[in-house]
Subunit: 361 residues, 4 copies
């Protein structure tokens, strides 16, 4: 039986669009999926960028009117890789047109917007690109937790540090404007950390947060920090900043539980630190696991044990899992409800930062 053909439209031509295009091209090389992806049309505002993207990645056509694109009957999938403020209109229109919707994270610029989007999107299959869930090391951490290897969780601590905001002359993209991004470090970086936390450690019960903007005149947060209590009784700290000078892309989590510890750092994303507190005390030490197989998530998809993968593969695993379950009418793991849950936490963070009080979820 030949694979079912899916015609794709991508809205956006920026750096995330590049990562999505690559995933569309590569997913079939590493995952057994029952679809042939047809890169039908790329849509954006800048004709030069459009033509470059089409030439580079093999999009068959270019277009400038996303409303027209999402309404085209020949399109099966609409991928959204545009500034945050545009996610909602495109996603809602695409869902209403019956398209499969793939939407870059964060889902929306506000909780209410996210909920409106979700209402529309529940009618169709959808994916929100929380790509860092499906790093092999993160998925393996989840497996160890689910197997009880960490025991009762006591602590969850997360940082996401980069230094992108420290040069005001460069920090001028849409990501630094409230009107297009909604928030700054919160939506851009913290959303990833929250997604990982909800995935690995369950719901947050309450939190208190602060936001800070270092650059004069900038209307989004440069840094957002919070304390949290999780529903499982553990306590947490989160810190996301664009002023983490010295750190280029340091997304970490560390979990301390009654039976062990886990630590992850995106900068060395093929590794997972694991301590088994049931080992004899004098042999307990943080193990540096190379999560490249054997017997690790996704290790059969890519290369031989010890041969690392990188940033782009996080999109490929996300897409591979989505397409692998698409025809089973099962919810994808990184699904819509999870993305709304992240947005709900971000909303609580914003409210707490504004009111300076603890907020329950």
């Amino acid at each position: 039986m030949p694979p079912h053909k899916l015609n794709l439209a991508m809205i956006g031509t920026g750096s995330i669009a590049k990562a999505h295009s690559n995933a569309f091209r590569q997913v079939g090389h590493f995952f057994d999926i029952p679809y042939a992806l047809n890169l039908r049309v790329v849509c954006g505002r800048d004709q030069n960028k459009l033509e470059a993207a089409a030439a580079r990645w093999g999009w068959a056509e270019t277009a400038t009117d996303w409303r027209a694109v999402v309404g085209r009957p020949d399109i099966d999938v609409v991928d959204i890789a545009v500034p945050n403020a545009l996610h909602a209109p495109v996603a809602i229109a695409a869902a209403q047109a019956g398209k499969i919707v793939l939407c870059e994270k964060p889902l929306a610029t506000s909780l209410s917007e996210a909920e409106t989007m979700a209402d529309a999107m529940r009618a169709v299959p959808s994916l929100v690109w929380f790509n860092y869930r499906r790093i092999p090391a993160v998925a393996f951490a989840k497996r160890l937790i689910d197997e009880g290897r960490i025991g009762q969780t006591y602590h969850y601590r997360a940082t996401y540090l980069n230094q992108s905001g420290n040069d005001p002359s460069k920090a001028t993209t849409w990501r630094y404007r409230r009107s297009e991004a909604g928030t700054g470090a919160a939506g851009d970086l913290l959303s990833h950390s929250i997604d990982s936390a909800l995935y690995l450690n369950g719901p947050i019960a309450e939190l208190t947060a602060m936001a800070h903007t270092f650059a004069p005149g900038r209307d989004v947060d440069d840094a957002t920090l919070l304390l949290a209590r999780f529903a499982n009784g553990s306590v947490g700290t989160f810190e996301a900043t664009r002023y983490g000078v010295g750190r280029r892309n340091r997304k970490t989590f560390e979990i301390n539980g009654s039976k062990g510890m886990l630590r992850f750092n995106l900068e060395v994303m093929n590794q997972l630190e694991f301590l088994d507190a049931t080992d004899p005390p004098n042999q307990q030490g943080v193990r540096n696991l190379s999560v490249t197989g054997p017997d690790h998530p996704y290790s059969n998809n890519f290369w031989k044990p010890g041969h690392i993968i990188g940033y782009e593969h996080t999109f490929i695993t996300t897409l591979g899992d989505f397409l692998g379950t698409l025809n089973q009418h099962q919810p994808s793991h990184a699904d819509l409800d999870a993305a709304v849950a992240v947005q709900r936490v971000l909303d609580a963070v914003e409210r707490s930062a504004a009111t300076r009080i603890w907020v329950k979820l």
Copy 2:
């Protein structure tokens, strides 16, 4: 001129008393001090421990009544190495008797107690053993900061993680009882982190905190976490816990500033991580400095470059600096006001954790 003789009395026989005894024995081997320390009397409640301590470290006498000891005219220095709740009565009595007072940290079990102690202790020379200030790597961090190498500070983040509380069958010392310790992780661990922060990054302007106790029935905090704004405009996170499973003594700080980054971890205390953000961008990387000389603080006091020191030397440097300036009628760096300032932050932490609101300092 022969060195001036100082007769010492030590109150306490526990593990900290061991570290103090060692410092008394060793300081003259590594520092040029104009004093001969005479270990005159060790005082405690348990005769076996007293005799063991005296035999081991050469205390000339043992005693069981600290009030009698601090009143002895032949005693010049009273060293306090007893549970926190006893710091105040001993220190006040010793100060009133005109003795030089050396007091283990934290200074007191409450701010009001600390202020009462300070009122009495200002009349005499005194030292509070915040020994982690005078680690070569920490002192070198301070020097780099003072020289402007980090620029404007954006972020300060500190953790102090151990796993001492995770075994309820073992966690039964005075450190786990409010009546003797005042607080749990806050006074034991967080106080060190706060001292480092005030030393390196200046005053905290406001904070919001949470405290948590994991063990049923325990009446002190197992973990205390906080967010802070510093007077210099930077923002901070602090986390101190006895449930940091997998970590035995992990006291860290990381500072991100406009010109660089610093990171320290007590587990590898001879090292300091430093990034110079004024290096060419493609050559910027976190440098792992071996702070063992040359041209590092205290490097001439101990061994040749590359030869590391350990936990006990933090007491020796603290004492060496104190004795080196004792006859100059200058305040010691780790002085009384600094210890009260730490207590003031701990007090704000307790109040914030109780009221769940931001507290200004």
Copy 3:
């Protein structure tokens, strides 16, 4: 002007063939190359593997007779991804047929074979896949060396450790048989280390080597170790083993020179350790550079700074550079002479290991 079309044939269907296929698919996405690569035919012995490879990577046809394939007039490029002993016949036939030849490393199973191949291959453009030269961190190391940042080299030390041979029940591929592989760890692992060394530190003047086989009955070396003098006056150690239990793919080099130090580890291939010995002594520390841009080799080809690449990208950069210079009639960096030079060192290693004496090159 439309890109020139190149029709490719690949001989082989194993794990290296997968990496090559991926590079053919991906190179145009990340490099500006004036060619359109057409995956025309994949050739092998196992029809199931052939069909799987064709389906997965889009090879238009399959074939089982490599001699027929290399003679096809519609083929422009022959890629060789078969066991070492087959490199020579395929490469020579392809070169004689005027094809561009891409050959997996090591070039040959012996020096004489390599020289015979080279004689034939000099008539055509060719590439030997010494893919680890063109890791950004390695290329950046080369740049720093060439700029004089390391000064006079004193020491070069290299290891390549994996544990593939430790399980005799698994170590049964052609790589463990002399008839197909020529050598064991020497050709498989050491060849990469030698290539890096010649690239970074220049010719080896003389060496003494030992080879050892741990597994009874195996007729290739499990480990090869050597001491070397380089023409530039530095001294070196090399160790390559399949019994480096605990290490999955640890290819390292460390260079100590009068002005600095460099260290690389393939397991964290996006990083380069660099020490600048001209920094003030108290600020000298090994810098952990994230070689992901800005201003690093290949950083504009892939993702934003801080976003890592992996194993497969080493093939992409190698191919990208080759195709970028193909029409300039310039030799590619990782060219034929370099591959022969590696073989010459491997030959000296074999002779020294057999005779137990120093061998000059």
Copy 4:
């Protein structure tokens, strides 16, 4: 019963003499030894240094004639902390006078000298200060090996890198002169690595070595490198250099065996890396053990778990073990025969480096 008093004489006033003095002062604080050490006389050539050493460490007298000192009837122990070439005459005279002899490593400047010394010294208790055997992490490595946790050893690799020789203006001590030191990096650094190897991995069966001097006019080796076969069937590499620019005191060993791996680095001497290859494959990772207790060698002697020790403690443990067994008429572990065995390997290294052939032991 009061402890037996031992009167000590120390010959030497340099940096090693400082470490020995410290050990004499400290051993009783951390080890239960049935002796009271009486620092009776320090002997050297420079009166200023002598008086400084006596004042600093409490040596009761100074002397300038070592022959007179070793013959004094009131002296029980002679400690030798002078340049290597003086070890033999002092040790032999002291042994002939019936003194307990403590001798700094390496034992001698040649094998024949070492054997002559040993002949004399066998009549008395003696210690050779191979202090790095008795680091807790190294002793724990030995325990794991003896318990079979590493299985059959395949590989042993050792480096000892510092950069002391790289500044010719500074490298002017006796350590850089053949007449006083015998050898350069070989006796100074490699001897430690050989001692560790013999201790952990057993005898060396044969070796091939090279020595190199980078500085013009210097008559000792700046670097010595070798390949070895051990009697147990494993193969090894050793590298010792004073031109390891970027490394201040990097003494490492790594052992790969059929059941696991061990790695040690003196720069972080409180840690031991351990991989258990019998763990499930997906949970195998190099564990970073903090060898500070509980249940680690010497962990009860010093501080609480997680509180590190340093360079000086390696002398204290060595002395503590020696004194602990002195009255049991048992050989000390780091005993004379072991020191002669190291010298025998150093002799083979010298011969191999001179003749450029493999040398059997």
